[in-house]
Structures are given as C-alpha cells and as structure tokens.
C-alpha cells in the first residue's frame, strides 16, 4: 500500500515539476533533478491537500488524498503527455555508463562510498522505530493521530497535550501521517526519501556548474557532515527543512544567474514548502526577497518579485491565520522591539563560533567554506556573489531570531543554541558547500584534475 502512495507522490511531484520546466524548452530537467524535485514537491503538495481538506471538513484518508493527487497529476500532464514520453525515452542516455575505458575511476570510487553511506543511513532509518523525544512527543505523535482521526486539528489539542511541536506547520507531520495512512508501520521512509531527494538535487544543482568529480566529492562532503547524517534517519523537522530551504535558495541563485523563469518558480515553490515545514525557515525566503528586491529596483521589473513573494510566503500566512482562527494560538516568543544587550550578543557569537567550528558536529564543512571564501577573495564580488550574499543575509537573519527570543517565554539562550541552533545549521550546509564547490578557484582546480585524468593536461 505504501508503495502505491509513494508512486502517486512521485507522479504528482513530477507532473508539477514538468509543468514548470516545460514552460521553457531551453532547460533540460536532469534525472537526478526530476527525482529529487518530484518527491520533495509531491509530498509537500500532498500536505497542502491535507490542510485544504481540514478546512473543508473533508476527512483526510488515503483514498481522498489519492483522488485529488491523481486528478491534479492528470490535469497537469495531459497537455504534455507527448513531451513526457519523449523525456522518458531520452533518460537512458543521461544515466552513467560504465565503459571501462571512459570511466572516471575517482568519481566511481566516491560514488561507491556515497552508496555505502546511504545504504547505512536508510537501513538504520528503516530498521529502528521512532524513539527521539521530539518526534515521539511531537511530530510522529501528531502524524499518528492525524492519520487516525483524519484531520489536522486533532483531539490532542482538546486535552492540551499537542504541545509546542503540535503547532509546527503541517508539512513534516503531514508527510509522516501520509506514510501511516498508507499502512506503513513507521514514518521514517519519508525521512529517508527526503534525505535522498536532497542529495540527488544537490548533485544535480552542482552539475550545472562543475564537473562530475567535483560534484560527487562535494556531495560526499555534505552527506558525511556528522550531525546532518545522524538526522537522516531520525523523524525530526530540521533535515526536511534544509531539504526545502537550501535547494530553494540555490534555485533562486540559478534564476539570478541564468534568468530562466522555471528556476524562479521552482525556487518559490520550494521556499513556500520550506515555511510549510518550519516557521523559522522564513529567514531564507526573506533573504531571497531582499535580493530580488534589489534586482527589481535595478531592472524596474516587478513581476518576478511579486510571483516569488506570493508563492513563497503564502503558506506561512495561511498557517499563521489557521493557528489563530482554528486553534486560538498566536506565536509570541520574541521581544517585540529592537534592543541591544552586549552580553547576549557575545553569548550568541560565542555559541555560533563553537558550533560551526565543532568538527564533531559539522566535520570540515564550514572550514572548507571559509577556505573557499579566502581563496576566492579576489573575485568575491564577481564570482557567485549573489549566492554568498544569500548565505550571509540568511545567516544574519537566522541568528537574529535567537537574539530576539524572549527567554521568559521559552528556554534560555544557552539551551536554545545547544539544542536548536545546532540543528538549524543544516540549512546552511548545502549552501556553503555549493559555494565552496562552484567558486572560480575550485572549478579551476577540478578542471586541472579532470584534464590530468583524461590525459589532456
């Protein structure tokens, strides 16, 4: 049963992705990109259907979700059936071919290491049941109850036991509920597929700029980032948040770089789903918004920023209004005025430094990023400057959230940094590694290696 559910998710996601990309024939949707986007968008949109059903008092059941998913899939792909058929006919040529004479051994070796790590991650995820506290007392609990009761405003709210995790936007718990609705014993299949989709997408995005060896090596660096790898087999929200936010901003960078509309739409959809997973992800939408605003002021073109803002911010507004009207909850965790507290700022900076430089948590990820910025310093304003600005802006915005937290309304800053900010850095891992991989100097280095391998150097 779960297989049917997942196939429908992939088809739904693919139909939306293909619909967006078909609007511009110049862009070739790669296999990795199609697979990654199909799942992330498909499962995200299914949770939007759940939300709409809840509003309309239609029960959230496996068959009601199947029905709407199939209708939307058919409606979106009907016009493009011929193109879809030829797309699948051409896919074979894109798959790696292992003729010994042409094979890049280094790429293959790294690819095999990645396979080994991913097998380990998926096996761990599917073997062990959900036991992490935040999930047992939060996201997975909500998922089980949503699946049982067929609505989002479940009975846990009446007994006041849904807790702070119960009011998270519904993407993660809804996607877990989807697994239960389709008869799965565990929701972790969703976590694993989300993680695999992030990796496929990251590789696909890197390949738009760099050669295969560079792309596969930096994908490995992302996968092996310790804290993030640990979360690839846990039913929590941080890794899914990163799986939407990071590719969302990377697609926005692609739009700014190549000015091809589908990238803007996909970015807006992913960032919209990012705030549908976690509210704090809004900082990435905000960073994207400011860059687009600058672009719009310069070019006097406003259409793009209006489209982006509408799609990417709408889910956040919808959920905030729903919380207030349907559940009577307002999120009030911040000091509502700007203030200066040198001690708090110092503490925040100290924590940030400790976390990003902790090799036990993030391996060499952030060191590699700083090194990349350093070696690229000469071209810092010319090469991938928009991407760097997005990273810096979103990091400042994200840190500001923690600075503005009202300690009287929740845990202390120390606790929040130790438990929450630590995981929030997942958002930045794909982005900083993308910068490190695609900047001019790294590309030059890998071009030399490639030339050496092929005997052209």
């Amino acid at each position: 049963m779960i297989i049917i559910g997942l196939i429908v998710v992939y088809l739904l996601g693919f139909s939306i992705t293909f619909f967006v990309f078909k609007r511009n024939d110049d862009i070739r949707l790669t296999v990795q990109e199609a697979l990654g986007l199909s799942f992330l968008i498909g499962i995200g949109v299914v949770t939007v259907f759940m939300f709409l059903y809840d509003l309309l008092h239609i029960p959230i059941k496996a068959w009601t979700l199947l029905l709407i998913s199939v209708i939307i899939t058919v409606a979106l792909s009907w016009k493009y059936l011929k193109s879809i058929r030829s797309y699948f006919q051409n896919i074979r040529s894109e798959l790696p071919h292992f003729k010994s004479a042409e094979m890049n051994l280094a790429w293959t070796a790294v690819f095999l290491i990645i396979c080994f790590l991913l097998i380990g991650s998926v096996a761990k995820s599917l073997y062990w049941p959900t036991t992490s506290y935040d999930s047992v007392a939060g996201y997975d609990l909500m998922a089980k109850v949503i699946a049982a009761e067929g609505k989002i405003k479940v009975s846990l709210f009446d007994m006041d036991v849904a807790g702070k995790r119960g009011i998270y936007p519904p993407l993660v718990e809804g996607s877990f509920a989807y697994a239960y609705l389709f008869g799965s014993d565990s929701s972790k299949i969703i976590t694993s597929l989300t993680y695999l989709s992030l990796i496929l997408l990251f590789y696909a995005l890197l390949r738009k700029y760099v050669n295969p060896l560079n792309a596969v090596l930096f994908s490995l660096l992302m996968i092996v980032t310790p804290e993030m790898f640990a979360h690839s087999s846990l039913s929590l929200t941080n890794m899914p948040g990163a799986a939407y936010a990071a590719p969302g901003l990377l697609y926005l960078f692609l739009w700014m770089d190549k000015k091809q509309k589908p990238y803007l739409y996909i970015s807006a959809v992913l960032l919209g789903l990012n705030v549908w997973a976690r509210n704090d992800g809004v900082v990435f939408n905000a960073a994207g918004f400011f860059l687009l605003l600058y672009d719009a002021i310069k070019s006097k073109r406003w259409k793009e920023i209006i489209i982006f803002s509408t799609i990417s911010f709408l889910p956040l507004f919808a959920w905030t209004i729903y919380l207030k009207l349907a559940m009577g909850v307002t999120q009030d965790r911040f000091v509502n005025h700007l203030f200066w507290d040198a001690e708090r700022f110092g503490l925040l900076m100290d924590w940030i430094k400790r976390l990003i430089l902790d090799v036990n948590l993030y391996g060499l990820t952030f060191y590699i990023f700083f090194l990349a910025v350093l070696i690229n310093i000469k071209d810092i304003f010319r090469d991938k400057s928009e991407l760097l600005l997005m990273i810096v802006l979103s990091f400042i915005f994200y840190s500001s959230i923690y600075y503005q937290f009202d300690d009287t309304k929740q845990d202390s800053l120390n606790t929040m940094m130790r438990a929450s900010f630590k995981r929030a850095l997942f958002y930045f891992v794909p982005m900083v590694l993308f910068y490190a991989s695609t900047n001019k100097r790294t590309r030059w280095l890998f071009a030399k290696i490639d030339a050496f391998i092929t005997g052209r150097g």
């Binding site: 280094a106 049941p129 047992v136 609990l141 310790p226 060499l364």
Partner: protein, 190 residues
C-alpha cells in the same frame, strides 16, 4: 614537396593508433593515480576528523552489524533496546488495556522515586510520550484531576507505579506488584 608531405601524412597515420594507445594508457594511469590519491585523502580525513569516524563507525558500521545480527528483531524488542524499562512498562499498559480506556497516571513526585528514566524529558513520566504508545487510550494525570474533573470521573484504569495507585481501586489486590496497570472496578470473574 607533394611527395614529402604525402610521406609525412602516411607516417603520421601509422603513428596515430600508437599515439592513441599511449594516450589511453596515460589517461588510465592518471585515472588510477588520482583515484589512489583521493582515496588516501579521504582515509586521512576519516582518521583525522572524529566526526567522520563517528559517521562511519558508529552510525553506519555499528548499525549494519546490529541489523545483520538481529534481522528479525520484533518492533517491541527494538523499542525496548532503545528505551529500556520505560518502554517495557508502557507496552505492558498498552497490551493490558482496551483502546477506549481512560488511564490515571501518578503525579510527577511518584515518577521521581520510580525506576523509570530520570534524565531529560523522555520516558513514562511524560504524558505526551506515553500518549504516543497508548493512543487512542486517554490519559489523565493525578495532578490534572481538578483541571479535567469530568474526565477524572471517567477513569477506567490506574497506572500502578512504584506501588502508587492501589488506593484508587475499589477492590483489594492480593499480590501488590510495584509496576502494573489495573482496572479501577473489579470486573466479574477477575
């Protein structure tokens, strides 16, 4: 001139396959060299960075070994391996109460003296954690009795923790186990 260039062309045509073979051979050797170099680099990183060792040794290899050694471990056993006595107890409660049960939990002070997990927030002491395993059963804590008086009157089972709860039953129990779950009313034949 013409004859000379023709000869040159013929000579270079003869050389081409040999050149190509040499080129292919060089490419292959370079390919192997880069691969060996890369693998050495990755091995050094694995050895030098504790976080990477943790990923490979603890998260991947250790788990694959456990899975290989216990391929058919049941879900309750897996939960027990991770959550210990807390899970064993909550699973017992789940197995011995009907789905429509309203279960009374002891107050926090009783859990503080019990054999359950005391570190962090997880464990039987936390109502939300219990609900995950007991849903659709309803749970009410002793300290919530005044907050939900109607529900309190609907209690059908009592969670006995560290001997607490026997006084809530309307019958006497001969052998008082420290950890169990019992119906609040004695059912006929029990």
């Amino acid at each position: 001139m013409g004859k000379k260039s023709k000869k040159k062309r013929q000579a270079s045509a003869k050389k081409q396959p040999a050149q190509q073979a040499t080129k292919k051979y060089t490419a292959f050797v370079n390919n192997v060299l880069v691969t060996i170099g890369l693998l050495i680099l990755l091995y050094v990183l694995y050895k030098a960075v504790p976080g990477y060792q943790f990923v490979v040794d603890r998260l991947v290899l250790a788990n694959l070994n456990i899975i290989q050694e216990n391929p058919n471990l049941s879900t309750p056993k897996k939960f027990e391996a991770k959550l210990g006595f807390d899970y064993r107890f909550i699973h017992y409660v789940e197995q011995n109460t009907p789905e429509d049960a309203v279960i009374l939990m002891p107050p926090d002070s009783i859990f503080a003296k019990s054999d359950f997990n005391k570190r962090g927030t997880w464990g039987v002491k936390t109502k939300t954690w219990d609900i995950y395993f007991l849903y659709p059963r309803t749970l009410i804590s002793e300290q919530d009795s005044s907050r939900y008086p109607e529900l309190y009157h609907k209690i059908t089972y009592v969670m006995i923790v560290n001997g607490w709860g026997y006084d809530k039953l309307n019958y006497r129990v001969q052998a008082e186990h420290p950890y169990t779950v019992l119906p609040i009313l004695q059912t006929p034949g029990s």
